[in-house]
Amino acid sequence: MSKILVIAEHDGTKLSQATARCVTCASQVPGAEVTVAVFAADPAAVAAQAAALNGVAAVVTVAAGHNAHALAATLAPQVVKLAAGYSHVFGPSTSFGKDLMPRVAALLGVPQISDAMSVEGTHRFKRPTYAGNAIVTLEAPADRTVVATVRTASFEAATAGGNAPISAASVEATLPTHTRFVSISAPQATDRPDLSSAAKVVSGGRALASKENFALIFSLAGKIGGAVGASRAAVDAGYASNELQVGQTGKIIAPELYIAVGISGAIQHLTGIKDAKTIVAINKDPEAPIFEVSDLGLVGDLFQVLPEMEKLLG
């Protein structure tokens, strides 16, 4: 049997969809018995959401004031303690998991598998390297804990319908005081869907040429009920905020529909959208590499195309 501990990502009230995707990956490990661990100041709400996911056998909570904010240095020693008796420890490959899991792996003295994109056996996984240009199959040692982050775009989110038991654990670990949370500035909450999990995404690139023009992207996204994304060039130039960046060093997403507007299609960008079901490219350069991956391509000037598109969408 594979006893898998999935570390929940949450904001104190809501379990992230990335965690639900991580649960799906964990369930695919042969003989999986999946336990979700919730570290929080008050884990009740998040634990209930985790317990309701199909494929989750149990939820353990670690309630403590020092778990109010996810600091890797504080969480890692607790995860290590909790991991005793588990064959696998998984976390989502989000900024949360990428920060935490390597610290856990190093404390356990085991190598980590980053961005697992498919399960090939109890200890065998595929992962992308070189911005997705080379897919590597890795085999972890059978006698050690497998620590992995899960490339969430490669897995559907586990659906609700389960009813796993929730238990509280107390973890005795010496915690450092050398790392302190100060603040987080999240963008104003909107009713727009979240980029990481949206079914539709409209992304803008350097071609938008200004923050004001970038409103065209927001407008089209609003029209189709989609989230907004951006290329690195657009983020660097200040047209869009950093959490909207899509790509190798931004978010890796897998929407049903991805519309790339004025984005050339650099490999670092493409690696973030390869799993999108339908890619639409709008670019005035017929030679732009984005057209090599698009399902529907339109050569044209975005400043004419976007208003016309909105009109036709009614």
């Binding site: 080379a134 450092p176 987080i184 959490e243």
Partner: protein, 249 residues
């Protein structure tokens, strides 16, 4: 502070279209342009700026890799690092082994700060920074987009999925650099000449007592599945029609 160590990895240049070897054993690196990992350039730039503000005395560039990684260390010296250390190994080290090697250098050098890139663009693992911090039992501030040194602490703004998070850490600490931390300087010709005279020590990985053996077995390396060829539409009306037919709008 006295000293900052910066990690410099030799990687395939980000402009190269990487190809997988037909026998599935790896990617083609022969005759391919190699460069400093772009995130490490950002890490180094930050260290140099901290030194130039008078907040650090020395910046030491550290690479763990083959003899040829001396080229990348020379680039780091030309950018402005004071000296360089190559931990030589021909093995492709896993992040955990690289972190152990780094730790061995840390115990010799006693830095106040270690700055590395948030990930290397070859294996994209994003592990080494947090692993160094874990083994060193010191704070980590990953995905940094702003660093402020205040005596014996540092305040770091981190690029996280939700937005920007600010944390405070006691020094010494490990910071991993994100894209928007700074824009690395260009190297000028006179700097390249000057860099030739700067000290570059080469030590053998084995002499640090670190094993190069991989924990993970690489079973196969293959190219990604290509996407099915798409179509070009002639105008906006055709595009909107196609999207409606697919039920996407």
């Amino acid at each position: 502070m006295r000293k900052i160590l910066v990690g410099i990895k030799r990687v395939v240049d980000y402009n190269v279209r990487v190809r997988v070897k037909p026998d599935g054993s790896g990617v083609v690196t022969d005759g391919v342009k190699m460069s400093v990992n772009p995130f490490d350039e950002i890490a180094l730039e930050e260290a140099l700026r901290i030194r130039e503000r008078g907040e650090a005395a020395e910046v030491v560039a550290v690479s763990i890799g083959p003899d040829d990684a001396q080229q990348q260390l020379r680039t780091a010296l030309a950018m402005g690092a004071d000296r360089a250390i190559l931990v030589k190994t021909d093995a492709a080290l896993e992040p955990l082994a690289a972190a152990k090697a780094f730790l061995a250098v840390i115990s010799k050098e006693n830095p106040d700060l270690v700055i590395v890139g948030k990930q290397a663009i070859d294996d994209d693992a994003a592990q080494t920074g947090p692993m160094i911090a874990a083994l060193w039992d010191r704070p980590q501030a990953t995905f940094a987009s702003k660093v402020e040194i205040k005596g014996t602490t540092a305040t770091i703004v981190r690029e996280v999925d939700a937005g920007l998070e600010t944390i405070e850490v006691d020094l010494p600490a490990v910071i991993s650099a994100d894209l928007r931390l700074n824009e690395p300087r260009y190297v000028k010709l006179p700097d390249i000449m000057k860099a030739k005279k700067k000290p570059l020590d080469v030590i053998d990985l084995a002499s640090l007592g670190v094993s190069a053996e991989a924990g993970l077995k690489c079973v196969l390396v293959e190219p990604p599945k290509p996407r099915a060829k798409g179509i070009m539409v002639k105008d906006v009306a055709e595009l909107v029609d196609a999207l409606k037919k697919k039920g996407l709008v």
